[in-house]
Subunit: 77 residues, 2 copies
């Protein structure tokens, strides 16, 4: 099984959700992408269907938008 | 570790998220509560901080609102 990918932008809601996701599914099962550290992956996230962060893209490609930290527009701004 | 609780209301967004959550964390690690089958647990969910469904309440009590299926008001209506 390929990994899930958790996209976030460092906002408090994001960090809280990151901790929860790691606790729930295990840190070996998820790639964490922080747009503040690697904004080159914003396009990848949008192509996957990510509309806001934090969001988890599952191994089968579904997007789970978790709570609401920031829109992708805000992330790019 | 106590289980997570996944609250939903049978909407398409809920069912899709239910499948994803079960795949991600394992069905033995989550209690599934369907308000259409057991509306006595709506109060419990609201007390836990659930504002909309589907939502996952983690073992440490954090609420992860996942995508958006329906508000709790709609669930009660």
């Amino acid at each position: 099984m390929s990994k899930s990918v958790f996209y976030h932008a460092g906002c408090p809601v994001c960090i809280s959700a990151e901790h929860d996701i790691i606790e729930l599914i295990g840190k070996d099962n998820v790639d964490i992408v922080h747009f503040g550290e690697d904004n080159s992956r914003i396009n990848e996230a949008e192509n996957a269907g990510v509309k806001s962060v934090p969001a988890l893209v599952t191994p089968n490609g579904n997007v789970l938008h978790i709570n609401f930290g920031a829109s992708m527009e805000a992330v790019k701004g």
